[in-house]
Symmetry: C2
Subunit: 177 residues, 2 copies
Amino acid sequence: MPNIIYIATSLDGYIADKNGDIDWLHDIEIPDGSDMGFGAHFDRIDALVMGRNTLDAVLGMDIEWPYSKPVFVLSNTMTAVPVGYEGKIFLLKGDVSEVVKQINDQGYNTLYIDGGVTIQHFLKADLIDEMIITTIPVLLGGGAPLFGALDAPLKFKAVKSEIFADAIVQNHFARVR
Amino acid sequence: MPNIIYIATSLDGYIADKNGDIDWLHDIEIPDGSDMGFGAHFDRIDALVMGRNTLDAVLGMDIEWPYSKPVFVLSNTMTAVPVGYEGKIFLLKGDVSEVVKQINDQGYNTLYIDGGVTIQHFLKADLIDEMIITTIPVLLGGGAPLFGALDAPLKFKAVKSEIFADAIVQNHFARVR
């Protein structure tokens, strides 16, 4: 029952720059129209798990709801699913291990864990099994880091590496337990 | 006249852990005895540039002096080359751009820039042309970061990626100016 990260960071490991901006994510055009494995990743998963910040970012994008699978939103303050998103968004709160158990109990086993805060909570609880990290080759010099503090080191192994558009490298890591 | 970094970091971008230790660098055995491109890198360079901390670490290793090429040590406080290292170690101080000019003027054009502090100074001055970064697949959760603050973002491109021992990924980046 793997929990998977699929995310892009700068070369120095940030998911947003000093001003909170993410426009640098799209600096490099992918000429062949490759989705850099996102479709294959999305096909694999049963559901998404994200935090309130990531949900708000997606809702604020003025695009159609992009997810064809259930999105579990971790929030201790939201009390209701936004109007129009019933059956798409499901609210959960509390300890991440307990949250994963609740989602797995509903039959969703392969989970896409998204959003900086949520990813850090999952890593702290050693609940991440795979990481697909796309490195946008820019040094930002500061910003919001993908990784945070841990109680103990976590070992992974690189299982795949691929370069896109002669510029972007995507590395796949799997947890070694 | 490229200045090149060849260094290993943890998955979360640290070159030493919270205690300053680097033993995790050698957690994964390379079964085929590969040097992960170090020999080819070293053949390419004319000289090394490192700081006082890195020099002290190398001298403290109780191994034979490992470098067959001139080592320029940046230090504002060292006044003499350690006894026995005349002709191997050369002291320089001051602004990194000026230091590079002085080294290039002596005919050393392809430089291996080593050590955390020195690398950060070089990046801040936009004096790094290539980075060969070997990612040891462990999340340490803290330590001494390879990358630091910058005045402005620096764009690179991924030019090569290779996996060693089914675990370690090495990514090559080149500066895009």
